[in-house]
């Protein structure tokens, strides 16, 4: 970006907002907004603590397990829906419903079923992540060139071989963007789940900090999570770009 003849660095707008935050924070307008410098100092302070490490471990575990389940069930379901009209008729209304439903409202029900623990968190992650993965895998499979499927069949591919060697690969660009969107939703899922359960992981820390009005701590934790979600998105976007070349040459 340039203003006049001056080339501004990429992070300029971010720096302006950071300065503004710092000024508002230092003016003491609201205790909810502590100075930015204080928040960063707090990040450096709390990240190495054992309670943060434990929260990160528990959260990371629920996040990874939940996403693995969502991917392992979501992709085959999406592929099945993309291939079979019957399966599509049966599942599509539900997938669309869950995709747009306010899933946070379901977490208390999950909690009743699985108890206020890690299982509930994992289930919440799956619930948040899976639907977009299903829908994108379905869209990917529907865009496969029919002759590629016929090719596999003509060389005697079993249904499993067709799934693992043709469908998944041919639909990979869509599947990857489904996984990326699923992971971002899963970040929401894991945080919302933990905040509602509020006795484990980051949810417990959020509860602790906000109930004691430790705003710097609260923001520090939020910033770490934001950075985490951003990093996931960037990593998956990079991966998607690597596979884009054959999305255009599929037909």
């Amino acid at each position: 970006m340039t203003i006049g003849n001056i080339r501004l660095p990429i992070m300029t707008s971010l720096i302006i907002w950071a300065i503004l935050w710092e000024i508002v924070g230092r003016s003491g307008a609201s205790f909810v907004i502590p100075p930015l410098s204080g928040i960063f100092a707090r990040i450096v302070e709390i990240v190495p603590t054992p309670s943060f490490g434990e929260a990160l471990w528990i959260t990371g575990k629920a996040f990874v397990i939940g996403n693995v389940i969502a991917v392992l069930f979501g992709i085959p379901l999406g592929v099945l829906m993309g291939r079979s009209h019957i399966a599509d008729r049966i599942f599509l209304p539900w997938v669309n419903l869950f995709l747009s439903a306010p899933l946070s409202a379901l977490v208390p029900i999950i909690m009743v079923i699985f108890g206020a623990g890690q299982t509930t968190i994992i289930f919440t992650v799956v619930l948040f992540a899976i639907w977009i993965i299903v829908l994108d895998a379905r869209a990917g499979v529907r865009s496969i060139t029919p002759s590629l499927v016929e090719m596999a069949l003509s060389f005697g591919a079993t249904p499993w071989q067709a799934f693992s060697r043709i469908y998944v690969w041919a639909a990979l660009p869509e599947i990857l963007s489904g996984i990326r969107l699923g992971l971002i939703r899963a970040v929401k899922g894991v945080v919302i789940g933990q905040m509602l359960v509020s006795i484990i992981g980051f949810g417990r820390l959020f509860e602790l900090y906000s109930s004691r009005f430790l705003m710097e701590h609260f923001w520090a934790l939020l910033f770490v999570l934001f950075a985490f979600a951003f990093a996931i998105n960037e990593a998956l976007t990079w991966l998607e770009r690597r596979f884009e070349y054959f999305a255009s040459s599929r037909n």
């Binding site: 060139t145 002759s147 590629l148 016929e150 090719m151 596999a152 069949l153 003509s154 060389f155 005697g156 591919a157 079993t158 071989q161 060697r165 043709i166 690969w169 041919a170 990979l172 596979f243 070349y245 054959f246 040459s249 599929r250 037909n251």
Partner: protein, 264 residues
Amino acid sequence: MSPAAARKIEARHRPMVEVRHLSKIYAGGVEALNAISVDFPEGQLTSLLGPSGCGKTTLLKIIAGLIPATSGEVMVDGRPVTGPGPERAFVFQDFALMPWANVLRNVAFGLELKGVAQSEREAVAEKHIASVGLGGFEHAFPHELSGGMRQRVGLARALAVNAKVLLMDEPFSAVDEQTRRKFQEDLLELIAREHKTFLFVTHSIEEAVYVSDRIVILSKRPSQVSAIVEPEIGRGRDPDQIRRDSAYLDTVETIWQSLKRYLD
């Protein structure tokens, strides 16, 4: 059609593919094939030629076992077709290559599905890649190749499984004219070299006459066999000479006259 230029000939060779009273009615009521019966002799190249949309590709795909027939049956090497089988290999109009796999893996894919060990199937694939003139491109990806080269990959893949019958669905229609001519000559060489039965769908009369031992002309949909022509063209001569040969030109003209009435 004048009997002098186009004779209906009984197959001198054993029929490798037999089609008996085959009908195909698509869902929605489109009748593609109507009780069609035709033989495809072993070791020869037989073309299916007909007006566009006449069901040539449908017939080929039923023989391949990719789509089911409504009634009638297909026998390949004496056995009825119920689905795809290892004695048949298909060459696709749009090549149907896996864009995420290199030439070597694409060519070896049929063997990969059969569970042939990697080193073995790659050795076989390399041999066929060289035989279609793509030596040195083993590790190239389809999007790096021209249309003609991609179809050579498709052909090598079909050859690699060592099927007795090669089913080719307008294999050269997506490549440019010069490449197509070179391809046709290579195909003739291939027929002479490999003792295989070729079924070849094309919409080009010239192509059919140039490469075929036998041309099955289909009528408009719902298709029946309208005529069978055996071009009497001496092989093994200079290609340019053949294309100027009067027997070649007469056969092209006769077929054109018989197909013209299907145009509307």
